[in-house]
């Protein structure tokens, strides 16, 4: 039932309610009708007994069997014949309980003793009943009995017995004649119930329809006509409208905030780039000024040129760090690449190396760009090792699963503060003093280009980065060709982080 739509349930309930009402009413009326039939028969039997008493009394007195029989058998010799079982049974007994005459001589024969226990008991009760008519019901008969008296002397008894099935015949006749009106009433009542139920439930159905549309349609353009009356469903409609309005406002606000954040990210990026370039450029300008005087004094320009060269390399490295694609080659990944990364990081930071636990083993070659994976892994492991400088340990797991490469690097160091989490993948945003702020940004760019996924989870117990890279789909060279405008790409990706 609960899976059935209210669109069906409510009208169906109303139809069922009218059906049940009519049926219950019908049953009650039928019972009443049956009771009335029985009551009518009792009243009729009492009248009949009363009417027959004087003549039957006379027949008993004069020993006139024929007179009694002609009264009891009713009209016509044809009807007096056996075979018509459903006729009223009337038996007249004398004072000694012998049958004097009956309407059914074949069953209640003149001169026989009254044998039926039910009737004899009733006749015995008559002795105490005096001039009353007694009524008794057996399974198949409704029986009335009345004593006959001549000057207060008991002469005999008249028994009138109605077969119960004649009541049923009358009852079914009444039922049959009553069925059509009931059907005629029930039909329009059901239709009305169905219509009324549909009418009541329509606003709720419309509301549900609108809410379903909310999932797929654009909130801003969603057009919905909802009933907004003063009843409960109307209130729901009003609330829905308010909710829709609120959602629209929220969406607008979010878009605005997003645009602002994007602008802010671009600003931060520009400032970072400017800062990274300005640092060496500033140093080089100072060196240039110093060396201009030294050259005038004829000093060797070589140290100056070296300085200038390192400065320019620094700038180039900084810029090329922003252009990730050019550095990605397409060489398949092996377990040896993972081992290289392990050797490099352990040589750099030997004092925490024994707190780094490596897990997983790759078999054969995987169609994933090896350099990109090396860079990503190195960035994440270096970061993790930095995080556990003051205690804690690192877990590194590289594994192949379901057509993907899974890289999971976690540490038990201090968690990433909540306000920083949204910005960790932005360039020049460093969590550690002295960091370039490019490691995670580069990692993010590489993973995105390889159509992978990066997830961060940071709490008091651990901070973990999980990277999933699809095997055999990453062709970053193509992606680079498709998207040549580096500025747009960077700003977009920064915003996306």
């Amino acid at each position: 039932m609960t899976t059935l739509s209210y669109k069906i349930r409510i009208p169906l309930s109303l139809v069922a309610a009218s059906l049940v009402t009519v049926v219950v009413l019908g049953i009650a009326l039928s019972f009443e009708a049956y009771r009335n039939i029985v009551q009518d028969r009792i009243a009729e039997g009492k009248r009949l007994a009363l009417a027959l008493t004087p003549v039957l009394s006379q027949a008993l007195k004069h020993d006139d069997v024929w007179l009694a029989y002609s009264l009891l058998r009713g009209p016509g010799p044809g009807q007096a014949l056996p075979g018509t079982q459903d006729r009223l049974l009337m038996v007249l007994t004398d004072a000694g309980g012998t049958i004097f005459a009956s309407s059914h001589p074949d069953g209640f024969h003149t001169g026989d003793r009254l044998m039926d226990g039910f009737y004899t008991r009733l006749v015995q009760r008559l002795a105490r009943a005096g001039h009353q008519t007694l009524t008794a019901e057996s399974r198949n008969h409704l029986v009335l009995a009345r004593g006959l008296y001549s000057e207060n002397t008991y002469q005999g008894a008249l028994i009138i017995s109605y077969p119960v099935r004649t009541f049923w015949a009358r009852f079914t006749q009444i039922l049959r004649s009553g069925t059509w009106p009931v059907v005629l009433v029930l039909l329009p009542l059901s239709l009305l119930g169905w219509y009324w139920g549909s009418y009541i439930i329509r606003p709720l159905v419309e509301l549900a329809h609108c809410m379903r549309k909310l999932r797929t349609a654009d909130i801003a353009t969603l057009e919905c006509k909802v009933y907004e009356g003063k009843d409960e469903i109307g209130e729901l409609g009003q609330q829905f409208h308010k909710m829709l309005q609120g959602l629209r406002e929220k969406q607008a606000l979010e878009r605005q905030v997003m645009a602002q954040e994007r602008l802010a990210a671009i600003g931060r990026l520009a400032a970072g780039v400017a800062h990274e370039i300005n640092n060496p450029v500033g140093g080089m300008l100072v060196a240039l000024d110093t060396w201009r005087t030294r050259l005038a004094r004829g000093e060797n320009p070589r140290p100056f040129l070296d300085l200038l060269e390192r400065g320019l390399y620094h700038i180039r490295d900084t810029v090329s760090a922003l252009l990730i694609e050019s550095r990605i080659e397409n060489r398949p990944l092996r377990q040896s690449d993972i081992d290289d990364v392990r050797t490099l990081v352990e040589s750099q930071r030997g004092h925490v190396a024994d707190r780094v636990h490596w897990q997983g083993l790759l078999h054969g070659e995987l169609d994933v760009p090896a350099t990109a994976v090396r860079q990503v892994l190195m960035n994440l492991v270096t970061n993790a090792m930095t995080a556990v400088e003051d205690g804690g340990e690192v877990r590194v797991r590289v594994a192949q699963r379901d057509g993907s490469l899974l890289i999971d690097v976690s540490n038990t160091g201090p968690p990433i503060p909540a306000d920083q989490r949204a910005h960790i993948f932005e360039p020049f945003h460093s969590l550690q003093p002295g960091g370039t702020g490019l490691g995670l940004w580069i990692t993010y760019q590489i993973v995105t280009q390889l159509k992978g996924r990066i997830e961060v989870d940071s709490n008091r117990q651990r901070t973990g980065f999980t990277i999933t890279l699809p095997i055999g789909t990453g062709h970053p060279a193509k992606a680079a060709e498709e998207d040549e405008d580096a500025d747009t790409r960077i700003s977009y990706r920064a915003g996306g982080g």
Partner: protein, 290 residues
């Protein structure tokens, strides 16, 4: 009984009655009917009455009573002029009645008494087997429905009051047939003519009865007049009745009645009935039992 003595008796009998109840001055003829015929066919009676009136040139009234005795008494009281009575009351009241005509039935002016039983009592083929049963007579003044069966019981040495569990009167032959057919009575004595006629009209009822004994032939219930009726009227009635076969309508009416016609008849016809009456009268105890 010789003629003179009968006349004297009649005179003696009529004198006090005539003094106390002078015959009512009335037009036409009062005709009594008893259940010796199926007297409930009012349509037929109406036709017969018209047929009679056309020939009598006076009004005719059919009078019906519950019991034979009522008709006999009314005739003796001169409330009736004529009546169709049973042979038994006729032989008993011969001083006060004159025979007009005897119906001819099956070519003869006679009929029988049938002892019938309910069709379900298949084992019973003789009267002697009816011991402990319920027996129905028609009328105490009926020959076939009472006199003959009583005489027959006497012949067989059966005392009805002890032999039967119960006996009762139905007051009409057709009622006896109904009583036996329905099982109210196990057996009964009935007029053969009525039984046959009833069978024609209601075979579904008569089918439930079986004749187990038929009596010798007795004079058919006669049509009589009171002895005080002028001879001219008696003769007129006799002429009309015996001439019924002479006209078409009369023949149709006779066919309705199931009779061949009427014959003047004679007292000798009733010797059989009279003999039984006298025999039983000599043993009055037999009659008083019932």
């Amino acid at each position: 009984m010789d003629h003179r003595r009968r006349r004297l008796l009649r005179l003696l009998a009529s004198l006090p009655l005539a003094a106390a109840l002078p015959a009512p001055a009335r037009d036409g003829m009062a005709f009594g009917l008893t259940p010796v015929i199926l007297d409930d066919q009012l349509g037929f009676l109406n036709q017969w009455k018209q047929w009679f009136e056309a020939r009598l040139h006076t009004r005719l009234t059919f009078v019906q009573r519950l019991k034979y005795r009522d008709i006999t008494d009314a005739l003796l009281d001169e409330q009736l002029d004529a009546a169709w009575v049973c042979g038994y009351p006729y032989v008993r009241n011969r001083p006060y009645m004159e025979l007009v005509a005897v119906p001819v039935y099956g070519g003869k002016p006679t009929y029988h008494s049938f002892i019938i039983r309910n069709h379900r009592l298949e084992g019973i083929q003789r009267i002697q087997q009816l011991k402990g049963r319920v027996f129905a007579y028609s009328d105490p003044d009926s020959n076939s429905g009472y006199l003959y069966p009583t005489y027959r019981f006497y012949q067989l040495g059966i005392r009805p009051q002890r032999f039967f569990r119960k006996t009762f009167f139905t007051w009409a032959h057709r009622n006896t047939v109904d009583a036996v057919a329905s099982g109210l009575a196990d057996a009964g004595a009935v007029d053969s003519y009525i039984w046959e006629q009833y069978r024609v009209h209601h075979p579904e009822v008569v089918r439930n009865t079986v004749v187990i004994e038929r009596s010798p032939a007795f004079a058919f219930p006669p049509i009589v007049v009171r002895n005080t009726l002028p001879q001219s009227k008696k003769q007129q009635l006799q002429r009309i009745l015996t001439g019924m076969t002479g006209d078409l309508q009369g023949r149709l009416l006779l066919r309705e009645l199931g009779l061949d016609g009427f014959t003047p008849g004679s007292d000798a016809l009733f010797a059989g009935i009279e003999g039984m009456w006298k025999t039983l009268s000599a043993h009055l105890g037999w009659l008083r039992q019932t």
